[in-house]
Amino acid sequence: MSAFKPLPDLPPPANTVGPIGWARSNLFNGPVNSVLTLFALYLMYLALDWFITWGLINADWFGESREACTSGGACWVFVTARITQFTYGFYPEDLIWRVDIVFALFAACLIWLMVDRSPAKGWVAAFTLFLFPFIAYFLLRGDAFGLESVDTHKWGGLMLTLIIAVVGIVASLPIGILLALGRRSDMPFIRSVCIVYIEFWRGVPLITVLFMASVMLPLFMSEGVEFDKLARAMIGVVMFQSAYMAEVVRGGLQAIPKGQYEAAQALGLSYWKMMGLIILPQALKLMIPGIVNTFIALFKDTSLVLIIGLFDLLAIVQSALNDPKWLGYSVEGYLFVGFVFWAFCFGMSRYSMRLERKLNTGHR
């Protein structure tokens, strides 16, 4: 009897691996694609060349007024001179340190939670979710602990954008999960309530929701009852987005095989333990792209609050463009707004991709 002897493994042909192999198979795998690749490279060169000359080399960066813009390129002075207003809106300048503390604290918590090896993640997460909102509220709003009161109509700019977006994101995910579970529930009453809620809020445009919240709602309330406009807008955003979130979550729940439910039940786990320990961790992992997609859409949708007279980043830059002293710099203004929105959205997108890779345990 002859013994089985496997052949040795040989390295692959040299031009199929590495950067050359990649370029051959992706960019130059045929005459048409080669021409298209070269054409695209040329277009990219044109665009970048224009932007770098106009926006970086020939640009003016600092100054007090438009007189500082002399070199004919982009006038970033418009942005830098007003950066405080773009960031904090009409927040009293001597109290801006309070906003800075909130930003710094939030950033510190986020970084702590994102770094893989940081200790005591549970406590930091609990702090961020349960304690931080109160700290942030009292610091920003004041009117307690001897802090001077700052009314919410003075909030604006990037600060307002971030507040609405973060509140929207943090609140809509858990509400969305509960709605999705409710929609899949066996109990007819709960199921109907969730379906009606989701279908109603998904069916109306966000602008309508915000408009109703700011114009219609006060009409129904009795004289003298004031309900903060920003709070109304935030509730509107949360209700609207949680309906979207619910459908994303439902999609993820349906992707979990029945066997996972059965195995959890067979081990004696109760409904909530089964959901919390087995189903949702897997479903949420599958749903990361969908969830982050919704987050990004929400982040950009916050600029719709300008319709009810709140000055988010976009609105405040727009109003600055109407300032007679700065007429004619709308390209710079919109590029700046676009860049800030893009930077946050891109950050979320990259983080979600990292999270997906980290959580991938060789599924099934």
Binding site: Q260, E262, L267, T361, H363
Partner: protein
């Protein structure tokens, strides 16, 4: 096996009394009567669609029966969630497709239910889990994820996971049907070892060799009914019912 001699003094652990079940208007289980004694090893076989899986899934209420009584360990299975939870704690189940939790390591799969359902301290649960993983001969895989294991290894983990709850009864729903031929033996070996340790087992399987080796009783089902039941020697060599003879001639031909 000397099981038949001592059968009379052992308590009945599972009692199915006139159990009926319908899927919509389709009558899947027709008047099932079955008593399982403590320590008994029962193999259920029959053609596909005969209701064998449905029957054992009724025993831990993964399926609901509509008529008749199922009593497990003196606890009747009704809509009472509390009873269902108690029964599920005492009845382990192994599935055809393993159904391990892919987001947890092998060890976490095994400790999850003891920690969250039995409220066992994590340390103790891990020690017990390692004992059972050793018993199914894969302690060295404890920190891997199920996706990194072969089918046979996954199924052995699934058996260990059930055993960690220290159940009174183990249900096996075609545990080797989804496995490559090379891996069937390693799973059957574990099951035989388990049977020899005195566990009460109900196995839906087509492994007739396994039935001959360990079963006290073989049950043949067709069209939702128990057609024939007997001890394995009689069952295989002297089947009484025509339907059983046909089934056996088909599966034992090769």
């Amino acid at each position: 096996m000397n099981a038949t001699n001592s059968a009379e003094d052992r308590p009945v652990i599972i009692r199915l009394n006139g159990v009926n079940k319908w899927y919509g208007s389709f009558h899947v289980l027709k008047d099932i009567n079955l008593n399982v004694l403590k320590g008994e090893r029962i193999v259920v076989c029959g053609p596909s669609g005969s209701g064998k899986s449905t029957m054992i899934r009724c025993i831990n209420r993964l399926e609901e029966h509509q008529k008749g009584d199922i009593i497990v360990n003196d606890i009747p299975l009704t809509n009472d969630i509390k009873n269902i939870d108690i029964v599920r704690r005492e009845v382990g189940m192994v599935f055809q497709h393993f159904n391990l939790f892919p987001h947890l390591t092998v060890l976490e799969n095994c400790t999850l239910a003891p920690v969250w359902v039995r409220k066992m301290p994590k340390k103790e649960a891990e020690e017990i889990a390692m004992q059972y993983l050793e018993r199914v001969k894969i302690p060295q895989q404890a920190l891997k994820y199920p996706g990194q294991l072969s089918g046979g290894q996954q199924q052995r983990v699934a058996i260990a996971r059930s055993l960690c709850m220290n159940p009174e009864v183990m249900l096996f729903d075609e545990p080797t049907s989804a496995l490559d031929p090379e891996m069937i033996k390693e799973v059957l070996d574990v099951m035989i070892e388990l049977a020899e340790s005195g566990m009460t087992m109900i196995c839906v399987t087509h492994e007739m060799g396994f039935a001959k080796t360990v079963a006290n009783r073989v049950i043949f089902m067709d069209q939702g009914q128990i057609v024939e039941e007997n001890e394995p020697n009689e069952f295989f060599h002297n089947p009484q019912n025509e339907r059983t003879q046909l089934f056996l001639s088909q599966i034992l031909q090769h």
